[in-house]
Symmetry: C2
Subunit: 117 residues, 2 copies
């Protein structure tokens, strides 16, 4: 990833409401969550949510599909991975000591959930 798209993604996540939505979608997995359900859980107006979903979507962090009357939003894991990788590459280039602990955190997080990574 380059500098510009990285700032677009970072600024999409740099908002409490959007970061919360994004976390919700990441945790929801491929099943995703309908816009209306997100709005109810987050207690935010539909139009505000829609604007914020649009920002996350343009940043490539989430995708959407229609299911009947609802629109289901899902996290885009590939692009999220790209952003994290960009930040980590950055780090490791000049400061390798930061990589070890991060790799460990990633592994531990997975093991704690009982997953093989």
């Amino acid at each position: 990833m380059e500098l510009k798209p990285a700032t677009v993604s970072l600024s999409a996540l740099a908002h409490e409401g959007r970061l919360s939505v994004f976390r919700m979608l990441v945790q929801a997995g491929d099943a995703g969550v309908a816009a209306g359900d997100i709005a109810r859980q987050m207690e935010v107006s539909p139009s505000t949510l829609s604007a914020n979903l649009n920002i996350l979507s343009h940043a490539g962090l989430i995708d959407s599909r229609r299911d009947g009357r609802s629109i289901i939003y899902t996290a885009n894991y590939d692009n999220m991975r790209g952003l994290l990788a960009f930040l980590m590459e950055d780090c490791c280039g000049g400061a390798p000591e930061i990589c070890g602990p991060l790799a460990k955190i990633a592994s531990q997080s997975c093991e704690a959930e009982g997953h093989a990574c």
Copy 2:
């Protein structure tokens, strides 16, 4: 890390100028870079740079110390690690498959530099 400080850090990084400065400092390591040198390399006015360094500093992403007439800025690796860990924990909770590749990227990045992580 909690939601609020995470958004503060993310929004500090969500700016091309600040992200560039931050990368420069991360790559400079503990030696850091003087404010004036940053301004010259980035071709930005001293007052603009100062404002942006202040934002990064308040977000906890960088530190500063005085050296003669210059003020040397350095990346704060602990807090950077905290932010990345926060984003990765997020990810791994609902989507463990993302952790593996990330851990691998971290390791590879270190190995490429010839470091033992």
